[in-house]
Each structure stands twice: as C-alpha cells, then as structure tokens.
Amino acid sequence: MADIRNNFVGIKSPNPFWLASAPPTDKAYNVERAFKAGWGGVVWKTLGEEGPPVVNVNGPRYGAIWGADRRLLGLNNIELITDRPLQVNLQEIKQVKKNWPDRAVVVSLMVPCQEESWKAILKPVEETEADGVELNFGCPHGMSERGMGSAVGQVPEYIEMVARWCKANTRMPVVVKLTPNITDIRYPARAAKRGGADAVSLINTISSITSVNLDTFSPEPSIDGKGSHGGYCGPAVKPIALNMVAEIARDAETRGLPISGIGGITTWRDAAEFMALGAGNVQVCTAAMTYGIRIVQEMISGLENWMDEKGHKDLSSIVGRASGNVTDWQYLNLNYIAKAHIDQDLCIKCGRCHIACEDTSHQAITANLNGARHFEVKDEECVGCNLCVNVCPVENCITMVPLAAGVLDKRTEKPVVADYANWTTHPNNPGATCVTG
C-alpha cells in the first residue's frame, strides 16, 4: 500500500489533504468532525487582531454558478475572516491540537500591516502549540478595503516585509497565502521567498460577481438590493490555480519553494494533479462545503489506489513530476503532428464535433456518408486542435492520434519530421536564432 503520509515544511500529517482556512475550519466543532472523518490537517479560519471581531453580513454571503443537473461548479462568497472572539479561537485551537497530535493544525492570520500587530498575534498563537501560521494576503473583499488581505497580497514589497516580520518573531513555519488577483503570480511568490517564508499556499479566491438578478437588477448574492464583488472558488477556478502553482514551481527564483496547492480540488485526481505540478500538499474548501467533509475518504482511497496501480511508493515520487513538462509556448515541438480520430463504435452521432469544427474551426469533420449521418475526420483538413475532443459528450470517443515520423500529413502534404523543432528556430520567426537549411 502506498504511503501517503505528508511532511510539509516539517509539519507532519497522515495524508496530504488539509481543509483550507474557511468556514469548515472556523471552530472546534467542525475541525473535530473533519479529523474524525480523516482529514490530515486544517488551516484554521483566519484570525484577526485582539479586540471586537469583524462582523459579517446577515443575509446571503454566497453566490454560485452551476453546470448541468445543477452541479455546483463555482462558488463566490463575501464572508470576512472569523467573526468569533480571538480568545475563543485560541482556546479551541489549543484543545483541538491536544486532542489530535498527529494532525496538522496551522493558523491563518490577518492583522494590520504593522510589525507590532503581527508580533502581538504570533505569540498567543505559538502558545496554542499549533504547527504553523499561514498569512492571509488573499481575501479580495471586505478586508482589502481595510488595507489587509489582497490589498497586501497585491504589493510584493508588503508581502516581503510582513513575511520577514513574522519570521523574525516566531519559531513556527510561516506559509504565505497568495491572492490570484494579480497579473503575474511569480512576483508575490518571489517576494514571499525573499521575506524568508517557508512556503506559499495558493490560490485564495478570485474577485467575481456570479450573476445579476434581472428582476431587481441587483448583483447576487443580494443584500437588500445591493451586491458586492466576492471571492470565487470551486471547480471552476482549478485551471487558474494549477497554472499559478506550475509557474511558481518552475520559476528560477522560487523553484524548490514548498507550495500548498489550493483551488477547486474536489477529487483525488485534482489533488494528484496539483501535487504533480509541484504542490507538496493540498487544501480544500468548496468541495467540503458542497458535499460534506466525508469526501476525504474518496480522496484518500483514490490517491492510494492510483499510487499502488502506478507503483508510486510515497508522495515524494509524485510531487513535482509534471513541473518539468511545463514549458513556454515557444519551446513546444512544432514537428509534433496529431489528428483527431473518431471511434465509430463509440460515436452516438450527436454531430457536435462536426458543427463545432464546421462553424468555428477548420471544416475537418464530415456530417454524412452516402446520405446517412456519419462523422469522420478529414485528415487533409484537420489541424489537430482538439476542439472536437472537448465538445464530444462521450469520453474517449474522439482521441488525438499522433502521426509517426515519415507518415504523410495529408493537410500539408509533407511527411512528418522526426526531429524536434520549435518557434525559436522557425523560418517564419523574425527573431529566429538560426535559419533552417
């Protein structure tokens, strides 16, 4: 059986599945239940500074988008950090950690941008025996207007400064949680590293409006007829998060910086993908909020099963395995040629591949043969774009088949070249470094 025990910046947990800082980790009641269900760790819901806690709206705080069959695909929230008194949270954290010494308990923090404030909160957190802290530079709503959350996370200099303060004032590992509401994730990640952070975690939520009520003309979720942008998360944000993780994992400056992957993780497969792209472990919020904390059982079973099947002994044999395969577009092999192929036995003849290609792409799929509905790829037109694969409702019905070297590409009427060649050397590239002979 594969060993899925996790060691993330020295914080040990029986598996790499942590609950992200959010409502599922807002109180001992939830966290105890999560640990019973099997979660390896939690990042406690973000604590603020001593004093009267923040207040939340008293109406809807969530909006959503759904796929077919009302499957929740994206969730948006306008919730703030914890609205429970600091002391209550600290006492509960201490008790939970005592009850569950083998699980990871990391405490998320967000206080004003002054060294004194950070110093003041780090000490009592240390006293809870928690395993580490996560600095929340991510919240895109509510806190940012107060100069915290993403307002800090969008300024690399602030990130670096706060990370440095924290490292100087605590023995605990410091994880910096990044906001995706920036143009290039590498800048804040580099700043965190320069500040001495032990790791980064990402992504926090993305600024969003999920929908507008066309009767009242209020954005949803609507509070007395008005709405405010919220933070978007759930399956819909996973591709954005994966890319950001990959960018940090392969950046020369941040390579090797531990990453806790977050964003839309719903199944073992999502988790494995994040880890393959360089995340040392993963955090989950929306999936737990949608289906309940029990989903971790599927994640554990699925990950173990896949690792057994593939012969991966422990997490170190999967973490980062895909990062080396992430490259810049200009280095992709332009001599690699693939064509779509439709498996006629699996085809249910819906015609979506045809119309997608016909109306919007390369007119490379037939609609009939001898008067009967028949969908087949015309190799002489197919550019191998993959659109048909993606719109086909039947899994594996349309596949991309690479052409072997020497085979004639009917579209270009040239044989496939075995050698690797990319844009940097392509004759059409005005800046090409060398000219083909």
């Binding site: 309940g292 079973s301 699925g302 594996n396």
Partner: protein
Amino acid sequence: MSDGVHRDGIAAGRLSAEDYAINFSDLHPPLSAHEARVEADRCYFCHDAPCMTACPTSIDIPLFIRQIVVGNPLGAAKTILSQNIMGGMCARVCPTETLCEEACVRETAEGKPVKIGELQRFATDAAMTANRQFFARAQPSGKTIAVVGAGPAGLACAHRLSMHGHDVTIYEARSKPGGLNEYGLAAYKATDDFAQAEVDYITAIGGIRIEHGKALGRDVTLDSLLKQHDAVFLGIGLGGVNALGASGDEASVAAVDFIETLRQATDLAGVPVGRRVVVLGGGMTAIDAAVQAKLLGAEEVTICYRRGPEQMNASAFEQELATANGVVIRHWLQPKKVFHNGGPDVTGVELEYTAMRDGKLVGTGETVSLLADQVFRAIGQTLDGVSAAGVTLTDGRIAVDAGFRTSNPKVWAGGDCVRAGEDLTVTSVAQGRDAAESIHRALGA
C-alpha cells in the same frame, strides 16, 4: 422459426439454440464505462443517504458511486465488499426497486433513481476481473466454527469469521456451494456461472473449508458439531416446500425443483417444459418459474395468485418483467384440483375465485378450469425440521436474538431459516455477517 412451442404436452428442445442463448442472456447487461460514468454522475452524494439506510447490508452507496465517478472502480468495489462480500451477486439479484433505488432521492425528484444495482455490478466486476482481494485474515485465533450451509448466509458468515482469524468448516448437504445462488435464482440474473466464480472469490481469503455432501441431521449431528467446534452457525435456508392442499397435488411440481433442474442443465434444450404451464403463487419464485418456463418455449404461461396485485410478494418490477415476457398474471384464484390422467400427466387445473370478506380470504364457490401440461407450486418454502432440531423455533423458523444467537448459546443462525427480515440474498448476507461479528465477540469474551 421453430414450431416447437406448439407441441402438445411436456417437451424439451422447443426452441433453437440461438433463441435459448438470447432468452437466457443477462437480464441487465453490464454497463459500459461510458454508461457507468453518466449514471454515476447523477448521484447527489446525499448526507445520511436514504439508499444506504434502505440497503440491508448498509453499503456506503454515495461513496462507492463517487469512487466510480473519479475513476477508482477498485476503491468502489472495496467500499461495497467491506459491507457485503456478495456485492456482486446482490448487484444482479437484489430487488433494488424495493430497496436502495426506491429510497433514492432522484426517485422522489423525478421518478428515475440512480441505477445503483448496475453501478454496483460495474465496480464489483472490475475487482473480480482483476482478481483483487481486499481483505486479509487477522492473526489465527485458534478457534474453529462450523457453518452449516454454503448459501449466502453461510458464506458471508464464514468470510467474516475468517477475517477475524477463525478457522471455518462449512458443512454443505449438496455437491456445489452457493445455496440458492447456484440452485434457485433465475438463470438470466446470474449468467456465466457467476455463482461459482463468486464462491471462489469469497473463499480465496483462506481459512474456509467446505465439506460437500455433509447434511446436518443426516451425516452429522448438532452435538457432534458442538463437540468439534467452538461455535456453530446455521445457514440452512428453507428445505421444504408448502403443499397446495388441493386434490391431485402430487401431480404438481415444486417450482424450486423446476428452477433447480434448469439452473443445473448444461444444455437448456434438454430441459422439458409444458406447452401450457400454470404457476400457483405470488412471490419471486412464482415469477421466476413462470418467466423461465416462457423463455424455454412454453406457449402459454399463467400465474394464478389467490390475492390481489398489491399483496403479491413479487415487486411491481418483477410483475412487469413477467408480463413483458408474455406471462399472464391472474388474481383472486386459489387451486382446488389438479387434473391428471391417473398417472403423472397433468391435463389442467381447477381454481376457485376468492374474495376478502371481513378481513378474511374466502372462496366464493365459483370455479374456473385452465388447461395445463405442467402445474408449478410456488406458494412458499418451509424450514426443514430435521436440520433445525435442537434449537427453538418461532412461527416455523429458527428463533434468534438481535445478534442472531439461537436458544442454544453456542449456536447462531441467519438467512432464510430464521424469523427476521425478508427472504432475500442481501438480507441473508447481512445476517450471516452480523452473526459472525456476534460469534467473534462471544468467543473473545
């Protein structure tokens, strides 16, 4: 086109080889990967899922379906088999329409439950095809347990006992294991010798020895078993068949005997069936006998039941299956006389109309006669008293407590032979498993 269906009397080979093959193929062919994916996607992953509560073995249905969705069919199989080691057979034969699928919230929402049974088969087939075993035996306990009967109850009990490190000897009267899985269930529900494949899969855990041809009451006694073993589990099912209480009864055939002949036949063309068949009864056995008689090429098959459609033990789905196969179901008729030519050849059956009067079922005096070459009795099975000697009975079945312990503190019992739950494969598995847990606790104490 075969004219075999019109041949009078009882005859074999009424159909072509091709027709037999088609008629007795899988009732629900296995789902393809695509079908399974689409179906699994419909599950809402309910909290405290009603389907799970409705399953007598309490399989974590939402979890196993989710495991199918995410491409982990082996994990799904493990989830199923850890609660129900006969999850493969149950997937094929459970009346899901009155169990998990009836409780599915999508049945409530749109009258179309998730096809839980077929998804269960998808997952368990994956594990059995890969020959993946999920359970290992605990340290040897040094205890041995006698299990009587290698049916669903006995096998489930033996498997769980073996997991706990006990050694099990199964005493089985017949020459093959499986109980009614092998001898009773409809052929189109358990194709390709699945019953035997499943027994092999279950016993592969080790520590289970089956002694065939050893009947309790004939070859061994309860006392001798108790002397040799630390505990005894009785999973002997129901060996007897109720009589009609009509004249000419002796010329009728027990439906279970007909089904057994059919299940054991190596070539269905060799199984004789009447041109006109009447089946008396209203349960699963009546339906199975009638449908299979029809599939063997009987021209006319009529089920006569003494009460109305609502009282039939066979579910609405089973009744529809019968009528879809051309079986006629008639209600409010009870047998009075089986006509025969002095010998074994049946010529017809006389029935009396019935009605409910003051909460009692009574004959109205009016009668009707039907032509028949074969009359099958399917009006219930009974406990064989010899096998159950030595333990207290209640209501004609073995009396057990909540832990399936009988009046003898060293004897447990489960499955059809006890007075608890419905007579179903899945219930028998649940009881065998729970009895094993109870035995394990008792032996540990």
